[in-house]
Each structure stands twice: as C-alpha cells, then as structure tokens.
C-alpha cells in the first residue's frame, strides 16, 4: 500500500510510502492545505511517513468533506511538479540565463542537459 488513509474525528491520518512521494511533495501538499487544517508530518515505520491533518474550526463546511480528496490530489500534483522540475528545471534555468546573458555555445549546453540539441 502506497498511501493508507485512516479517518479520525475532526481529521484524518495518511501513511505515505517514501518510495512514491518525496519529502518536498509531502510538505508542499500539506502547505497547500494549511489554510484548512492543522498539519503534522512525522516519520512512520521504515520507508513511510505519517501525515496528520486536523480540520481547523474555521474550515468551511463545504470543504470538510473534500479535504481528504483534496489532499491526495494535491499530493499527486506536487509530486508530478517535482518530477517535471527535476527533468526540466535545468532547461528552465538555461532559458533565463540565455535571456539575460546569452551563452557562447547554447547548443553544447543544451546537449549536456538534454542529450540532444
């Protein structure tokens, strides 16, 4: 099981596999929900991390039912953003560099990052 959800009164607890979700994604997802919940991230059994989300009193009723879903979707989105950033972050930095201080040999720089030009 990569993500096990346990409902609790006023919130829920999720056990996440570190193999699937990286620390940055877990933190980013809990950050995104920090307007609605009080969150805690802590280590669980080896290879897993536990996230506890307790709904804030100020959390609107309409959101209460959806928080769990929202969190899981957010988590996947954040992990995907992280994956894309890993793959393309270097290109992004290259674009900015080329914009303000053009490289002598852009082709070579691209080849080094992408493997082709």
């Amino acid at each position: 099981m990569d993500a096990k959800v346990k409902r609790k009164p006023g919130g829920f607890e999720v056990i996440l596999s570190k193999a699937l979700y990286e620390k940055e994604a877990v933190f980013a997802a809990t950050y995104a929900l920090s307007g609605l919940c009080r969150n805690r991230v802590e280590p669980a059994q080896a290879g897993y991390v536990k996230v506890t989300l307790e709904l804030l009193d100020s959390c609107p009723d309409a959101d209460r039912a959806r928080v769990e879903n929202k969190f899981m979707n957010e988590l996947i989105d954040q992990q995907l953003r992280l994956d894309l950033e890993k793959r393309y972050g270097a290109i992004r930095r290259l674009i900015v560099q080329q914009a303000f201080a053009p490289l002598d040999n852009l082709k070579a720089a691209v080849k080094k990052i992408v493997g082709r030009d």
């Binding site: 980013a28 950050y31 995104a32 929900l33 920090s34 307007g35 609605l36 979707n73 989105d77 954040q78 995907l80 953003r81 894309l84 950033e85 393309y88 972050g89 290109i91 992004r92 290259l94 674009i95 900015v96 560099q97 080329q98 914009a99 303000f100 053009p102 852009l106 082709k107 691209v110 992408v114 082709r116 030009d117």
Partner: protein, 484 residues
C-alpha cells in the same frame, strides 16, 4: 520543455509555460502529456509544440525562442523607479472613514511638506535612471499645500531641461477645493487630475465625508464638470474603492462611470491597512475577499456587455491582467509584479522627506513600525536610499519563482508579490499563500479571465483587445470600406 500546471474549476488542467503561453487540457490528455504518450503528428501535440511545451525535434532553437520571449516579458526591469509619489501634506478637508492616509485637520500646517524638502525630493526623483518619470501628488489633500506642488513642478521641469526625460504630473485630489486659477495652472503645466468616485450619491457619501460631517458628492460632481470644462473631458480620471455596500451595486457604479463618460473604471477592493483589525469602523466597509471576487466577476461580464452594446468602458484591472496573459510584451503594474514593484518601480516621499517603497509601508511607519523606512531626502543620498538593505530584502522575498506556493503555480507569469502587504497582514514578508486573500483574489480572477479567453467568444475577445490596444471596437474589427 518546462511548464507549470494546476487543475481549474472546469475540471481541466491549466498548463502554462515560462513566458505565459497557456493551454487547457482535459485530464486524459494531460496524463498522456506527462507520460509521453502523445503522437508527434497529432493536432494536440503540434498545438503543444507551437507553444513550446514539447519538442520532438530540435531543442536549442526552442530554448532560444523562449529566452527571447522571457527577455521581452521582463523588460520592466530596465526602467528603475518611474513612479514617484509625493505626499505634499497630511492635511485633508475630508475625513473618509476608510482612509488609511492618516489625514490631519486642515489647520495644522506642521503636516505640510516644506519647500526645502520638496526641492530635495525633486533632486532625488530626477536622479532616477528611468527615462519616463511620473510624479504623483498625494495627501492628505494636495491642493491644501498647492505652493509646494508648484515648487515641485517648477524644479522638476528646470532640472529636466538637461535630463530630457518624459515627465508626467498627476494630482490626486478629492476635487472639492479646485478653483479656476488652480485648474488654469494645471492646464498650462500639463497636469492631469486623479480623483475618487465611489459610485452614485448614496454609496459615495457613505464613506467619503467632509471633515464637517456632510457628504462630498454634490460638491464633487459640480467640480468634476468645472474641471473638465478647463482641463478637457479626459483631464480628470477617477478611482473607486469598493466598500461593503458597493459590492451589491457594482452595476450601478459602472453605469454611473459610463454615464459620466469616463474611459475606464478600476474595480478596487478596500485596503484594510492602517487600522487595528478589530477597529469598529473597519467593520462598516470590509468584507471577505470571496465576496469581492464574485461581485467583480459579475461586474466584469456586465462591463463587457456594455461595451458590446456600444458604450466603451475599460475595466482597468482586467486590462492589466489581460495584457499580461495575451501579449508577449511586459506590463508594468506596481501592485502586482515580480520582483515587487514597491521601491523598484514606484516609491513614495512623505511630507517630512522620509522615503518608503510604497504607501502601505508609509502607513506602517505611521503606526509605529518603521520596518520599511528607506531614508530621508534631507539627509541621505540617492544611492543610500535606493540601495538600502530594506529594498534589497524586499526584492529577494518578492520573486515569485522562489516563494512557497508560488514557485510551482502556473499563474506565476501573470502574477506578482507584495511583501509589504504580506508583512502588514500576515506578519512576515514571505506570506502564507493558502490563507492569503491577495493570492485568493488573483488566482480566482486570473483563472476567470483565462476561462473567458479559452471560450473564445468573438465579441468578448474584441472587447478585451479594444482595452489592451486602446482602440474602438470598430478599429479592432478592422471595419473599413473597400479601399482598393
């Protein structure tokens, strides 16, 4: 190629590249995109390729094109501090209850800028490397210290004989004190007036009160016509502030602006600065940002209809965002920029010569928190002020590329940061996006505009472009007789 994404209300994925080109994809297509499952000769792949989200062939030229576009988008970085706000007095003959300018009674001249300070202010302004300089007189009510306004204008024009910059002057006035000599002077010197009009009488007079307690509307209207008769129809431009009561009357406010023949309206929410959050008066005009956004959306659609029915009226806020979204050019807007416009593109000089990156920072100082004080024109050099560590810090914490919640947000190319506001409301410069109403407002309105653009209704698009390019609908549509 790099891009950012986020699900939107229509249950689709919004995908935006580094320079703000965007596309909406249904979930399935998005998943195929990120799992490299789109065939290179399909229409959707080519659409993505044309917008530089993907490439199956050359990479280097694509990076070069993106870099060129990125540079164009950031051109505002070249024009350092173009907007200079000068608070010539804190005195005001009005006592608007949502005013955050810490206005003072009209008889207390110690709140006036002195001519000596004014001259020092002008010298600092004219040292700015920007080719275009706009000097905005604020208050209080600047007309109460008009001699200093004149001093600034005279001194700036004198110095500009050597500097040759493009120089603009604007006086922000409630109009209640204008008289013929003042207006004749403005006309002669090429000064325009910026004023405040919140809506029809009932709405306007609810908050915009004279110091004596009565409403200011009637006098305002009388003087608006008088001012126009001397300065010309477009010599006076109004700003509105939306209080709680206005939210349900946006259409009437819009109608009034249209009836008065103004070119545009800027639907602006009230700023909750300058008050203790539990202040009793604040309750009379604040509202949750969600309510503003809903009212804004409805009003925007109404304004579009009005335009299509033949009444040209620009909504200023949408116009700025649309320019960011739809054009490859850069759009300066001090309140929404990355890095922040405060201090970089705009700066404010208080009556006593103190310099702050923006009005909110000045207000904080009035309330005892001098966190953003940059220096004083009477004591410090231009370099001391504009390379102050405060300013550097502001820039560092206002690049959306690095802010939590912003760094992977697809709306980043259209948005900006306001660290002073973050500090004022949330207590630190970086701020907390999930609970920020600034973030909530911009997200909601930008996504709303993106959806409207995506619907591609010819009428709506014609109106949007008439705003962006400052043309009539007929011009946008290229309507002209056969000229062959």
């Amino acid at each position: 190629m790099p891009f950012r994404f986020s699900p939107v209300a229509s249950n689709r994925m919004l995908v935006v590249n580094e320079v703000g080109e965007f596309i909406f994809l249904d979930r399935q297509t998005f998943e195929r995109l990120v799992s490299y499952d789109l065939a290179p000769n399909t229409g959707i792949f080519l659409d993505l390729k044309g917008k530089h989200f993907v490439t199956d062939t050359a990479v280097t030229p694509v990076i070069d094109l993106l870099a060129t576009k990125y540079r164009t988008k950031r051109e505002f970085l070249k024009s350092f501090t173009g907007l200079h706000m000068v608070v010539v007095t804190l005195r005001c003959n009005q006592r608007c209850n949502y005013c955050h300018a810490s206005s003072q009674p009209t008889d207390q001249q110690r709140w006036d800028m002195t001519p000596e300070t004014a001259v020092n202010v002008v010298h600092k302004i004219m040292e700015s490397p920007s080719e275009v300089i706009k000097i905005e007189f604020q208050g209080g009510e600047p007309l109460l210290n008009f001699e200093v306004v004149k001093t600034v204008v005279r001194e700036a024009k004198r110095l500009n004989r050597k500097k040759n910059k493009h120089l603009d002057f604007v006086i922000c006035t409630n109009l209640t004190l204008v008289d013929a000599p003042t207006l004749e002077y403005c006309k002669k010197e090429g000064i325009t007036l910026s004023t405040s009009l919140d809506g029809p009488k009932e709405i306007h007079d609810r908050h915009r009160l004279m110091r004596t307690g009565e409403g200011s509307y009637d006098r305002f209207m009388q003087n608006l016509h008088f001012s126009r008769s001397i300065l010309g129809h477009d010599g006076v431009n109004p700003l509105m502030t939306a209080s709680q009561e206005s939210l349900s009357h946006f259409n009437e406010i819009v109608d009034q602006y249209a009836a008065l023949g103004f070119q545009g309206i800027f639907l602006r929410h009230v700023n909750p600065y300058g008050y203790a959050q539990n202040d009793a008066t604040i309750q009379s005009f604040v509202y949750p940002m969600e309510d503003f956004v809903e009212a804004y959306k409805k009003a925007l659609l109404y304004i579009i209809e009005l335009n299509l029915a033949g009444t040209p009226l620009v909504e200023g806020y949408a116009c700025i965002l649309l320019s960011r979204i739809l054009t490859p050019f850069c759009t300066g807007f001090v309140d929404l920029q990355s890095p922040t416009g405060a201090g970089i593109n705009g700066v404010i000089y208080d009556f006593n010569g103190e310099v702050y990156p923006c009005d909110e920072a000045r207000m904080l100082a009035k309330m005892g928190d001098r966190r953003f004080y940059l220096g004083n024109v009477n004591r410090d050099s231009y370099l001391d002020i504009f390379t102050s560590p405060v300013l550097q810090e502001l820039i560092e914490v206002s690049c959306v590329e690095t802010l939590p919640g912003c760094h992977s947000c697809p709306l980043q190319p259209y948005c900006g940061a306001d660290p002073v506001r973050n500090y004022a409301i949330q207590g630190d410069l970086v701020g907390h996006r999930p609970t920020s109403d600034f973030c909530m407002k911009h997200k909601a309105i930008i996504e709303f505009l993106l959806e409207l653009i995506d619907q591609d209704d010819p009428g709506v698009m014609d109106v949007f472009w008439s705003w962006i390019t400052n043309r009539t609908l007929a011009e946008v549509r290229g309507e002209a007789p056969c000229s062959n």
